[in-house]
């Protein structure tokens, strides 16, 4: 059996076996679950050969699976996050209800994502896409909180995306006579112009839903926030990137043949920019860590969409690098929220406070990931941001730079809110007994954080697979032109050399730390957060002086006009409008025979009146 089938079947069998193993022993189930993720992952990295196709024909339809260098890059992200989050899930789900349900859907999701990356024909692609949607939908409604509202939103938008994609696939089949992706790409330039525009747009709608591009993003904040946190790190970190994967392929292989391609790309880039800005502003306004990160995910995906839509070689590198980095740091951050949720029972900033001394390792993960998110050198986030800005400036998208930079600076606000909300501020008696998260949760979190640091120092680790993938899509080799081992260039010849930067930063940091820390540490005593000077008064133990409510009120006042209406509002109004129309239609069917007779008479009269015009006497 081919190893690609083997991997998919192992996931499937693993999912079923794991789901039933819970009947015998919880520990066995956990073990099987981790094996069911790691064994296929190991197989993938050791056995799967690049560009090898396996196919079969049933009933005249030829289906093909295979691995391209481009999907290989995304598979690294999926499997890395998949394994890390699986280990984390074991700790997170310990002692929680519906573990079998969770494990089953988790494995199905990972399988479906790999299946999407393997698919070389539209049928497999669509089937795996739907498995992914369904499995993640079941995760979204797993907690049972606000299922109606959140679940239906996710479902409706996924359905819109899926129908658009299905329509495109039907059109494609009508044109080419088979479902192979490569065949379609080859015939695309010879299609009629209308089809040339319609098909990519339909496909892009399908992918934009998963990538949560405005205005198709409304499902994302709720779905990210209400899934189990251990799954959200995969959901936001890897699953949303499937949309990016599809988008890049559409942009590069289809739209580049089109004269209007540039315009469509610019429009989508601007949609990405708007997503980034609005989602960032809403993230700042959230008081719940899960929602904050959910909005932040939507915003970060916005940058990635900007980059891949611009589509110069550097912008592509930037977008894909940011996609990978987002997986690492957002995966880790959702894990942090999960850890806090597990240890304290809430994720509300206004309730939890001052955990830094109780959960130091969790804090460390959060700190590193937040620095990566904010794009501050020397961590990996900076590299993606740098390439994004450079590529936007060099490709003459000046206003996009400003917009992207605005939302990236505004991201500092929610970044700070996240760290301050959970870990800093006054320590409260209520949380005095909180313990550090279990080791199974800490290790994957810290591993992802270390990944952020590593990529900051050695971006070639991931730029290399990205470059290979882009070459396979038809870009020229950018090694030596845009990046080297640890140097980044732009086309004007300006560069950033990462090693000296890192040495400089570490040197100054450690020197200053030594200056304030050594000798000082032993001489001083730790004072609690109650022992502070507030105009000479010392707060009592029960007095909570933490500043959490309306945290960024002044800033939110300044941006008030932008935030008056959520996109949700337009959809609700649209829904209400539709409902009104349907209500009106319902009234037509009054159930009264005389009314129906009246309709018949009116119809006849209209027919007579129009007679001359309709039948051309």
């Amino acid at each position: 059996m081919n190893v690609i089938f083997l991997i998919l079947i192992l996931f499937l069998v693993g999912a079923i076996v794991t789901a039933f193993a819970g009947k015998w022993s919880s520990l066995l189930q956990d073990g099987l679950f981790i094996l069911a993720v790691t064994i296929p992952a190991v197989l993938f990295f050791t056995q799967v050969e690049m560009n090898q196709l396996v196919g079969w024909t049933r009933g005249g339809i030829h289906l093909e699976l295979g691995l391209t260098p481009f999907s290989y890059f995304f598979a690294i992200l999926v499997l890395l996050l998949g394994v890390a989050s699986a280990i984390y899930s074991v700790g997170f789900m310990h002692g929680k209800a519906r573990k079998s349900y969770y494990y089953f859907n988790y494995l199905l999701t990972i399988m479906a994502m790999l299946g999407i990356l393997f698919s070389r024909d539209f049928i497999s692609f669509f089937v795996f896409w739907e498995i992914m949607t369904w499995a993640s939908y079941l995760m979204v409604v797993m907690n049972g909180t606000r299922t109606q509202e959140i679940g239906i939103k996710y479902f409706v938008f996924s359905a819109i995306g899926a129908y658009a994609m299905l329509m495109a696939i039907v059109l494609i089949h009508a044109q080419t006579g088979n479902f192979l992706i490569q065949d379609f790409i080859d015939t695309y330039p010879s299609l009629a112009h209308g089809r040339q525009i319609l098909i990519p747009i339909l496909l892009l709608v399908g992918f934009s839903v998963k990538a949560a591009v405005m205005p198709l993003h409304v499902w994302a904040p709720g779905s990210y926030a209400y899934s189990p946190m251990s799954f959200t790190s995969v959901f936001s970190g890897a699953l949303s990137k499937m949309g990016i994967y599809g988008m890049v392929i559409v942009f590069v292989t289809l739209l580049s043949h089109l004269p209007e391609g540039g315009l469509i790309r610019d429009i989508i880039a601007w949609m990405g920019a708007m997503t980034a800005v609005i989602a960032t502003l809403w993230a700042i306004a959230q008081d719940d860590a899960r929602k904050l990160l959910a909005y932040s995910s939507v915003g970060q995906l916005g940058y990635i969409v900007i980059a891949v839509a611009i589509g110069t070689p550097m912008a592509m590198l930037a977008g894909l690098f940011m996609a990978f980095m987002h997986g690492l740091f957002k995966g880790a951050l959702f894990m942090v929220v999960g850890a806090v949720e597990k240890q304290t029972g809430t994720t509300d900033f206004t309730k939890v406070t001052g955990l830094i001394r109780k959960m130091p390792w969790t804090f460390l993960t959060a700190l590193i990931s937040i620095i990566a998110l904010a794009g501050i050198p020397p961590l990996g986030g900076f590299i993606g941001k740098w390439m994004l800005y450079e590529s936007l400036i060099l490709s003459d998208h000046y206003l996009l730079v400003i917009v992207a930079f605005f939302s990236s600076t505004a991201a500092f606000l929610y970044a700070y809110k996240f760290l301050f909300g959970f870990f800093l501020g006054q320590e409260e008696e209520e949380w005095a007994d909180v313990k550090e998260a279990p080791i199974t949760m800490l290790i994957p979190m810290l591993a992802l954080a270390v990944g952020s640091i590593l990529l900051g120092a050695f971006p070639q680790l991931i730029l290399k697979p990205i470059n290979n993938g882009l070459i396979s899509l038809g870009f020229s080799d950018s090694y030596g032109k845009l990046w080297e081992t640890s140097t980044l260039f732009n086309e004007w010849g300006d560069k950033v050399v990462l090693q000296p930067i890192i040495y400089a930063i570490m040197g100054v940091f450690l020197t200053t730390l030594a200056f304030t820390y050594f000798r000082n540490r032993k001489r001083t005593r730790y004072v609690s957060t109650k022992d502070i000077s507030t105009s000479g008064e010392i707060p009592l133990a029960h007095e909570n002086l933490t500043f959490k409510e309306n945290f960024f009120q002044p800033f939110l006042r300044a941006v008030e006009p932008v935030m008056k209406k959520q996109i949700d509002w337009y959809y609700r109004e649209f829904g209400a409008g539709l409902e009104a129309i349907f209500n009106f239609t319902r009234r037509i069917y009054s159930g009264n025979g005389q009314t129906y007779a009246l309709y018949a008479v009116i119809f006849l009269i209209v027919l007579l009146l129009l007679n001359g015009n309709l039948f051309g006497q």
Partner: protein
């Protein structure tokens, strides 16, 4: 050997920045005092303060993040300093400039506020957190005209590096102050926020927030913060001189140029009361941003 040279040069540069920044700060106190019809402290008062803080021992500490806060602040100032050409032809001040460009510098310069904010957060003092939220909000405000000014110059001269922009001025013989005047105006207006003097002193906000994020800090922490602020002031001034006034060939030229630039926020601030936070944010999104847009349009037009 090269590394030693860099470290040695770095220390000299740091000392220069420290002394100049402190002196400028002292001058500012004197000027404000004279305008308010007071006698005011001597110009070297800041050195006395710094020495006093340095020699004090602290009795308490607030935990790990509180230690790291000032260190982050120092990283931001010193690393930015290392990436800015002090004089046109290196000389005594070797720097890492060719290893990073303006966009790198932008991120390095905002890093300090975030690090300091985290350090201040752990103390649990509500005034710190309030100050931080104000500071971050204001930062989002002034970064917009600032990036617009920089982008305008990048477009106009097809380079994103500071040395590149300095070379342009050297070759054409005109300062960017004249070659891209709108960018200069936008940048200077943004610099009012960067310096955080009145009317934008909403972070520390004397008599309102009890010095904000700096509260709960004393002794060496305060010394670290104070020296970092002085160095950072010098960094910003030198950067402006490099970008718009053609850099400096020698130290005297540098001091004159930076001092003149420094007088803009100082003199603007001295006659102004304090804004509310949202007023400050919106102020930056008003005229400074308009100038930024004009600067970009001018740059596109002139290339």
């Amino acid at each position: 050997m090269e590394i030693l040279q860099y470290i040695f040069g770095g220390i000299i540069t740091f000392l220069l920045a420290f002394v100049v920044g402190m002196t400028f700060g002292g001058t500012r106190r004197k000027i404000i005092a004279r305008i308010q019809n007071r006698y005011g402290p001597p110009i070297y008062q800041n050195f006395i303060d710094a020495f006093k803080l340095f020699s004090k021992t602290s009795a308490v500490h607030h935990g790990a993040m509180h230690y790291m806060g000032p260190a982050f602040l120092m990283v931001s100032s010193v690393v930015s300093l290392m990436f800015i050409p002090i004089l046109r032809d290196g000389g005594w001040f070797p720097n890492l400039n060719f290893h990073g460009d303006l966009i790198f510098l932008l991120y390095m310069m905002v890093f300090g506020s975030l690090g300091m904010a985290l350090g201040a957060g752990q103390t649990g003092n509500p005034n710190s957190a309030i100050g931080v939220t104000r500071g971050l909000a204001q930062m989002v405000g002034y970064e917009i005209p600032w990036i617009m000014a920089l982008v305008a110059m990048m477009i106009q001269f097809h380079t994103t590096s500071i040395t590149g922009l300095m070379d342009v001025q050297l070759q054409s013989g005109t300062w960017n102050l004249f070659a891209s005047p709108f960018a200069f105006v936008a940048a200077i207006l943004a610099s009012l926020g960067m310096f955080r003097y009145a009317p934008f002193n909403i972070v520390g906000a004397p008599a309102e927030l009890a010095s904000g994020p700096a509260s709960e800090n004393g002794g060496k922490y305060l010394f670290t913060m104070m020296s970092s602020h002085s160095v950072f002031a010098f960094v910003k001034l030198t950067l402006f001189a490099d970008l718009f006034l053609g850099g400096a060939g020698n130290l005297v030229e540098l001091l004159i140029k930076t001092f003149l630039l420094y007088m803009i926020p100082v003199l603007y601030g001295v006659v102004n009361p304090r804004y509310r936070t949202e007023q400050a944010v919106r102020w930056f999104w008003g005229w400074p941003t308009v100038f930024g847009i004009i600067a970009i349009a001018y740059a596109v037009w002139s290339t």
